[in-house]
């Protein structure tokens, strides 16, 4: 082997890597570019640039309402997900018991069950629940929240358990030896230690919920759409700078959430 060979190997490696990073980012670059076009038709080169479409978005009722609904559903699903997921993570890391692996797999499963399958099965489930209870479940706000909670839980469990595994258990024991009861120990010792995992899990959960499309398609009701569905339906009809501007708002929101998460936990460790 010559050093030359290693040099060219490096060049080839870096060029394919840049190509694929470019490929991943390209669609975001184009949609952001389109949002600032002056003319309405997405033809290149643009005739000029303008900020008018960001104002146009605010007049699109579908986008505004979709954005509000997505935020509400995301916040509720994340809150419920935390209430269910954090205690479960504690049990998974701190205890030894039968079928632990199976339970862990079950709690992470909604992440790998495809959205279409998840959506269809929740759809028929909610129909059956409606028949059984007589309550309007399908297409309701809480029906949507329940589905989203299902996809939020795996992120919270994944990130909080990862965080818990890295914390030193002897500190908790020390607190107990010094007379703290389990609740105080949890509140004063464990909770501060796993705060990064909780913050990251909550943000990832929120972002997953906010961007969820396939499952939500089956669960939304008439006149009640989330932002990704509003964008999808608009795009089925046409593409113009208005929908691009709505997309940019979503990209910025999620980007900011990622940057905040990164301050708490290094993303390279958790995804």
């Amino acid at each position: 082997m010559t050093l030359d060979e290693r040099f060219w190997g490096r060049v080839a490696l870096k060029s394919v890597a840049s190509l694929s990073l470019g490929f991943i980012l390209l669609p975001l670059v184009f949609v952001s570019w389109l949002a600032f076009f002056k003319q309405e038709i997405p033809s290149f080169p643009p005739e000029g640039y303008s900020l008018q479409w960001f104002e146009a978005v605010t007049r699109q009722k579908n986008f505004v309402n979709g954005f509000k609904l997505s935020i509400q559903v995301g916040v509720m699903a994340t809150a419920i997900g935390l209430l269910l997921g954090v205690p479960a993570s504690l049990a998974l890391v701190r205890y030894q018991f039968l079928a632990k692996g199976a339970l862990n797999t079950l709690l992470l499963a909604p992440l790998v069950v495809p959205g279409v399958v998840l959506g269809t099965s929740l759809y028929v489930f909610q129909i059956e629940t409606e028949i059984a209870t007589g309550l309007p479940f399908l297409g309701s706000f809480w029906g949507l929240v329940a589905g989203h909670t299902l996809v939020v839980i795996p992120w919270i469990v994944r990130l909080v358990t990862a965080n818990l595994e890295g914390t030193d258990r002897t500190i908790e024991e020390a607190a107990q030896n010094l007379g703290a009861n389990p609740w105080v120990t949890f509140y004063r010792v464990t909770l501060p230690a796993i705060r990064p995992g909780i913050v990251a899990g909550a943000l990832f959960g929120f972002v997953t919920s906010f961007g969820n499309l396939e499952m939500s398609l089956f669960l939304v009701g008439p006149g009640r759409t989330t932002l990704p569905i509003a964008i999808l339906q608009y795009l089925e009809w046409k593409i113009d700078p208005t929908v691009a501007a709505a997309s940019v708002i979503q990209i910025v929101l999620i980007g900011v959430a990622m940057l905040i998460t990164d301050r708490y936990v290094k993303l390279s460790r958790v995804v």
Binding site: M1, R6, G9, V31, F44, A88, Y95, L107, V112, T208
Partner: protein, 292 residues
């Protein structure tokens, strides 16, 4: 486990573990397993036009799917697209994952965010980006025409090629992140050892890196394959109404035809095909790397 800790079963706190774990477990079990069971039961019901769903116990819906050339062609197309996209993701993803895993720069976190961000932005938004780039008056056609390479715009949008491009871009981050975490666990020194024993980069990659990264390659391949099989937004937006894949087909049966039994059956066929192929790949790869 030695002395009593905060949460120790020796102290008879086994019930604490149960009460911590139970709410989430019940929620996921009821929200995931029960619905899938109900969906399966629905798929055995009959559909009478005009009368909606009729209780029955029949495999008619499955027979209908496998005897109709149209539905078979949709399944076949879905498989073809999924296999192509998975291979493309592996080829494009491995180098990027390797660079991300081995890089020493301060900007590593930004690079990771650049990979993760598109993943969370959602498929519809990314499809919008490709629509801008690939349309008749889009960026690529405008560029190629300006350079004089073509006179007529290329028809890329609403073809299988557009869908392939879209799905590869959608799934690439999943592949990259899975591979990156595995490559980070492989010690740099085994690579150096291969080099100092005279292997070139290509030999080192084939004989050392690939076998060691095999669990990650398998996990990433399976994940991207599942996602490609079940793609919805990308085929709908980039393939147009005439381009049918399994995901949109399921949605159509539920939302437009109101044929829940048949929709359920297609959903199950899709899930079964995905699981079977995933398991086959798993067994094949494991056998190959065990006998060595």
């Amino acid at each position: 486990m030695a002395k009593a800790g905060t949460y120790d079963i020796e102290k008879g706190r086994g019930s604490t573990a149960a009460s911590l774990l139970l709410p989430a477990t019940i929620f996921v079990a009821i929200g995931l397993l029960v619905p899938i069971a109900i969906l399966f039961r629905y798929s055995l019901n009959a559909f009478v036009p005009g009368k909606f769903m009729v209780d029955a116990f029949t495999i008619e819906n499955y027979v209908k799917f496998f005897t109709d050339p149209f539905y078979l062609s949709v399944l076949w197309r879905t498989l073809r697209v999924a296999v192509f996209c998975t291979v493309a993701c592996l080829i494009l993803g491995f180098p990027l994952a390797y660079v991300l895993a081995r890089t020493q720069t301060r900007f590593k976190n930004l690079l990771i965010i650049a990979v993760v961000l598109p993943l969370f932005v959602g498929n519809a938004v990314r499809a919008a980006g490709w629509m801008t780039a690939l349309g008749n008056k889009g960026f690529f056609n405008a560029m190629l025409m300006k350079l004089g390479l073509i006179d007529q715009p290329l028809e890329i949008m609403y073809t299988e090629n557009a869908v392939l491009i879209g799905i590869v871009a959608v799934n690439l981050p999943f592949m990259v992140l899975t591979l990156q975490s595995v490559i980070e666990g492989i010690s740099r020194s085994v690579e150096e050892a291969a080099f100092s024993l005279g292997a070139g980069p290509a030999t080192m990659t084939r004989r050392v890196l690939f076998p060691l990264a095999m669990p990650g390659i398998l996990a990433g391949t399976i994940l991207t394959f599942i996602l490609a099989m079940n793609a919805y937004a990308t085929p709908v937006l980039l393939g147009g109404p005439k381009f049918q894949m399994m995901g949109p087909l399921v949605y159509g049966q539920f939302a437009q035809q109101n044929n829940w039994p048949f929709g359920g059956a297609i959903s199950f066929i899709l899930m079964t095909a995905t699981i079977l192929l995933t398991m086959t790949a798993n067994i094949l790869v494991q056998r190959r790397y065990q006998t060595r």
